[in-house]
Subunit: 362 residues, 2 copies
């Protein structure tokens, strides 16, 4: 989400395939703002696009070097691509356009004399509560691929076995399927009182988050391993943290700390209750390359071809427009705050957040 651009980005591309057909059920509570209003994701997602653009060359390289189009379309001329956690566009459309172009180019290199015309089917996936109407009506009249929208959590199976050739997942995997429940238990050492995230929290809280992330990733990888054909490829791009760096040094962490302190102020002022603050935890986790590699290796169904951590703008180097950044965060997260705290306090919280971040960056 928005924090992606002011923090490092983790890109991982892997190939896999194989059996299994289990299904898992997970709650559907996370979706970005729909429509095209002032706080819509449609209008406020160019930080995410900028992050995705930064890794475009890497995707191109992975497809050119490792994606065997000739082999994959030997039995039919259909290439199926899935964008997992597509939100409402327009970033997803741009990424799909790029990937399709890279695959076509690779096929041209592999089979310059072929008269076979590849047909592409692109599956846009997100939670059922995602605004698919906005996504569908924003599509150009003519696309060089057949369009399908797939509602459902990507932590479970979404497609028939061995039916996807290329899966792409951009700025979505850092969203946990849920906040770990022990954070809410005041008898647990992982009780996350007075915070909204694991930044600066106890080791137990960090461990609860990391465990939930590992479980979600395992679910994700198992589902994809069933769905992706042998020789297929998956690329995911998400916020990352350098191995060994304290979480508190991430720009996003600074923001989460500010959110917590704003909510505690608001509790003092009687605008929200302290219980409401204690029981709210952002279901977001930022892994390091080392953690990510360990999870993928433990799962064992994909081989890692590339794992990169890219640098992006920092909150204090003047390259991030704070006001704009907060609107981006709001487009991505507002729904969660409204659901927990009600809609009345959201304007106030984001106003205070903008002010705090301004003061911090000066």
């Amino acid at each position: 989400m928005a924090e992606a651009d002011s923090d490092p980005t983790l890109l991982i591309s892997g190939g896999g395939g194989g059996g299994g057909s289990e299904r898992r059920s997970l709650p559907d509570s996370l979706h970005v703002n729909g429509g095209d209003g002032a706080y819509s994701y449609t209008r406020n997602s160019y930080y995410q696009r900028s992050g995705a653009n930064g890794v475009k060359e890497t995707i191109k390289g992975a497809i050119t070097m490792k994606f065997d189009v000739e082999k994959l379309c030997s039995r039919s001329n259909i290439i199926s691509i899935a964008d997992l956690g597509c939100a409402v566009g327009p970033n997803s459309l741009n990424s799909m356009q790029d990937i399709l172009h890279f695959i076509r180019t690779k096929y041209g290199l592999q089979c310059p004399k072929s008269d076979k015309t590849l047909e592409f089917q692109v599956f846009f996936n997100d939670q059922p509560s995602n605004d698919f109407n906005t996504l569908f009506t924003s599509l150009p009249r003519e696309t060089p691929y057949f369009v399908a929208g797939v509602p459902g959590s990507f932590h479970r199976r979404l497609f028939p076995a061995s039916s996807i050739h290329f899966a792409h997942c951009s700025y979505a995997l850092h969203w946990l399927s849920k906040a770990p429940k022990e954070l809410l238990d005041n008898n647990s050492s992982a009780w996350n009182k007075g915070r909204v995230h694991y930044t600066n929290a106890s080791d137990e809280v960090v461990r609860a988050y990391a465990t939930q992330f590992a479980k979600d990733m395992e679910d994700f990888l198992c589902a994809r391993a069933s769905e992706i054909v042998n020789g297929g490829m998956m690329i995911f791009i998400m916020p990352g943290i350098p191995d060994g760096m304290p979480y508190s040094q991430l720009a996003a962490s600074v923001m989460y700390e500010f959110m917590a302190s704003i909510f505690m102020d608001m509790a003092d002022e009687g605008l929200v209750s302290e219980d409401e603050v204690d029981s709210f935890n952002l279901p977001i986790f930022t892994p390091s390359p080392e953690e990510m590699a360990a999870i993928v290796e433990k799962n064992g169904q994909f081989s890692i071809e590339t794992l990169e951590l890219t640098n992006s703008a920092s909150l204090v180097d003047g390259r991030v427009d704070i006001k704009d950044w907060v609107v981006h965060v709001r487009a991505a997260m507002e729904g969660m705050f409204i659901k927990h705290f009600g809609s009345d306090i959201v304007d106030e919280m984001f106003d205070r957040l903008t002010k705090k971040l301004f003061m911090f960056s000066e």
Copy 2:
């Protein structure tokens, strides 16, 4: 649409498959009411369901007798089903559930000892302006098939070549891609002044409608012929008229005549302009079995396995609740009236329509 239940229903099932990959572009102006409010299609579509239920046994028979599941899933265990013109549910979900059940049963009969588990992927198609959000959020949490929504006109290609095993289209094909343009030309003998449909109109008007329907059906059949695998099956259910029966004897025609006369009254009262009435034509056509057979045979890419005309309730036999029927018509058509006449006159028009139909049926 709603007229389906008070008029005969045409069911046609055919098998086909084969080449071609042309794409056609058509306007996207027809969609039923979304959401789940008082005039929503979700709440007001049980007449269509009743029509679809009436032909359930025929669909079961066609699948049991003619759909070779064993052969179709010999290379993979995936069966792809498309529902074309699905609207927002719930009828589409019920139909898909039934079809899936019939296919599973047929497979059990064909391969009683098979340990292969069939996987189903269901593509719900409708215009991009259809309310897919309502459709997706109304889906049960667990479905026995993988879900995908496909936005686009079914008069053009929607899927990769040879990728669909079974296509279903219920109460959608009677919607033309557009009203024939000569109806608007006051220099043409097909100028449809003072009417909203071809009922009781000149032969030229009827011919313009029939020609547009034949063209739309040809586009539809060509697109499906490319998409449906060899040995696949398509079933469509739509309002029909017995061969040789005058259009004016259909219950729906009575309603269209009433609509025209209400609009002319409203023009006299200055509520709408006469030009507005003259330039509005419902893009709906009801074919006879003979016409339908001729169109399918001329296209030549499908063989007709069954073509049935079923009888349903009549407006005057007391089996149709007029008020209810008008709400159904409204759920399906309101958007078109609002687009042309503005939203102000819609309540008034449907109120007057209900009254006129009551008087007629007494």
